[in-house]
C-alpha cells in the first residue's frame, strides 16, 4: 500500500464496503486529480454511490483509508460539499428553496448560531448561479426534478467547499438544467475546485469530464478520459454484452 498523496482532493486505498454479506465495494484504490471534473462510471449496482458515501462516512466502511487533501475526512470536512441523489430525500418536507440552500451554511452557523443577513445574501447568490433566484420562497415540493437538482447544487455552493462530490447530478433532469449544471461545474473547475460526480450517461462522459474512474465492485480503470475511457475499459467494467451506445466507442466484441 502506497502512502496517500496530499495533492489529491480524494485518494482512497483498499476501500471495502459490504451490504449484509455481499460486497458492494471491494478493495478499491483511487486517486482523483485536483482542479478537474472527474466521473465515477459503472453499471447499476456497481457500487458507485456506495463508494462516494463510504468516502464521506455516510455509510460505514469495512476497511480502507480515505484521504481528502491528504487529511482524514473528519479533519477536512469543511472543505467538502456533498450532493446526494435527488430521489434520496422526501421533497414534500416543509421547507422553502432558501431553507434548503441555507442548510449548506450549517458549518458557519453551527448548532445554535444565528444565520446572518450576509449569509442570506450569500445563499441567494448561490441560487443565482443555478438560475433559481425567482424560486427562493417557493415550497420545495412544487419544483420540477431539474429545479430540485439545481437547489441541491446551490446548497453545495453555499458550503464554499474545495471538493464537490455529486451523486448522479444529471439523473432525470431536463436539458436546460443539465446545461446549467455543467456551466456551474466548469466555473468551479476554473476557480481551482475539484468535482467528482457519479455519472451514468456514457454519451456525455468525454464532453463533460477530464478524468474517469470505472468501477464494478472492484476498480476497473482510472485516468484521463483520453486514455482510460476506451472500449477496452468499458468492456472490463460493463462486461461483454454492452456495446456502449453513442459513446463513439465500440466494444471489441462489436468490432469483431
Amino acid at each position: 500500500m502506497t502512502a496517500l498523496p496530499a495533492h489529491s482532493p480524494l485518494a482512497v486505498r483498499g476501500l471495502s464496503v459490504t451490504y449484509g454479506d455481499k460486497p458492494a465495494v471491494e478493495d478499491v484504490d483511487a486517486t482523483f486529480p485536483a482542479a478537474a471534473l472527474s466521473a465515477i462510471i459503472g453499471p447499476n449496482g456497481a457500487g458507485k454511490s456506495t463508494f462516494l458515501k463510504a468516502c464521506l462516512g455516510v455509510v460505514p466502511r469495512l476497511s480502507g483509508e480515505v484521504a481528502i487533501f491528504g487529511q482524514t475526512f473528519e479533519d477536512a470536512r469543511a472543505r467538502v460539499a456533498y450532493v446526494p441523489q435527488r430521489a434520496s430525500v422526501d421533497w414534500d418536507f416543509p421547507a422553502t428553496v432558501l431553507d434548503v440552500v441555507q442548510m449548506g451554511q450549517y458549518r458557519r452557523a453551527g448548532l445554535w448560531g444565528r444565520l446572518s443577513g450576509a449569509a442570506r445574501v450569500q445563499a441567494l447568490a448561490c441560487l443565482d448561479r443555478v438560475g433559481m433566484t425567482d424560486f427562493a420562497k417557493r415550497q420545495i415540493g412544487q419544483l420540477s426534478g431539474g429545479q430540485q437538482q439545481r437547489v441541491f447544487l446551490a446548497r453545495a455552493l453555499a458550503q464554499e467547499a474545495d471538493l464537490y462530490l455529486l451523486d448522479e447530478p444529471f439523473a432525470g433532469v431536463d436539458a436546460a438544467t443539465e446545461r446549467a449544471i455543467v456551466e456551474v461545474l466548469r466555473s468551479l473547475r476554473a476557480a481551482g475546485k475539484s468535482v467528482i460526480a457519479v455519472h451514468h450517461d456514457l454519451a456525455t462522459v468525454a464532453e463533460y469530464f477530464d478524468h474517469v474512474f470505472l468501477i464494478n465492485v472492484t476498480r476497473r480503470a482510472e485516468g484521463p478520459v483520453a486514455t482510460a475511457f476506451t472500449a477496452e475499459t468499458l468492456h472490463a467494467t460493463y462486461g461483454g454484452r454492452l456495446a456502449p451506445m453513442g459513446t463513439g466507442l465500440r466494444s471489441q466484441e462489436a468490432a469483431e
Binding site: 446526494p84 434520496s88 422526501d90 421533497w91 416543509p94 442548510m103 450549517y106 445554535w112 415550497q139
Partner: protein
Amino acid sequence: MMGAEFVQFSLTPILIGIFAAMACALPGNFLILRRQAMIGDAISHVVLPGIVMGFLVSGTVAAGPMGLGAAGAAIIAVVLIEAIRRFGRVEPGAAMGVVFTSMFAAGVLLLEQSGSSGVHLDVEHALMGNLEQLIWLRASGWASVLDPAAWASLPPELPTMALTFALIGALTLAFWRWLKIATFDEGFARSLGIPAGALGFGLVISAALAAVAAFQAVGSILVIAMFICPPAAARLMTNSLSAQIWWSLAFAALSAILGYVLAGYGPLWLGARDAVSAAGMIAVVSGVILGLAVLFGPHRTGARAV
C-alpha cells in the same frame, strides 16, 4: 361550571390532557416527516407489558417502577425490531408490526395474571387511562391555584406530564437545526458530521418518554392518536417546519380541551346518562381535526412534483 367545582374536577384532568397531548405531538412531527409514524404506534403498544412487569415486580401502582418497566420494554422493543429487520431481512414496518403486537398481547396476558391481586390495573385502564380520576379534591376554588399549600395535593401526573413536555420541548429547541437537516436529508447531515444515527435514536427515546409518561394518565389510544393526528393535520396547514410544530401543539391542546368537555357534557346534551371516556373522546376530536385539515387545510394539495 367555571367555579370551584371546575377547579376541583376538571382543571387538572384538562391540564394533564393538554401536556400529554403536546408531549406526544412534538416528537410525532419528526416521526411522521421521517416516515416513521409506525414507531409511535409501536412504542405506545410495547409500554403496556413494561408497565405490567413494573407493577408485578414492585407490587405497587407507583409511577417510578412502572415507568422503569415501560422504559425497559421500549428499549427491548427497539432492539428486537432492529434485530428482526437485520437478521430476518424483512422491511421495518413488518418488523415493528411483529414486535409491538406480540409485546402488547404479552402485556394483556400479564395483565390478566395481575388481576387476582385486587389492585386496579386492567385492560380498560391501559387503553383509556384514568384522566377523569386525576382530580384536585383539596382545591377550594381558583384561589387554590395560587396557594402553595394546596399544590401538595395536586395529582402527581400533572407535574410529571408538564416536566416531560418541558424536557422534550427543550430538547427539540436545542437540537432544532440538527433535527431539521437530518430529517430532510440524512445523508447530507452525516456528511456534515451531524450524528444522524444518535439523533434518530434520541428522537425515538423522546417519543418513548412521552408515551411512558402519558400512558398511565391517558392510556394507549390517546398516545397513538397524539403522535399522529395533530402533526399530520398541522402539515396540511403550513409549508414551514417551525409553523407546523406550533400548529401541532395548538391542535393537540385544542383536542385535549374540546375532547374533555365533550366527553363530560356531550352525552348529557344528547340525552344519554353517562359521560364517555375523556381519552377516547380526545382521540376522536384529534381525528376530526385531521379530517377537517384534509378537507380544508390550505396546503393539502401542494403540487407533488417528482
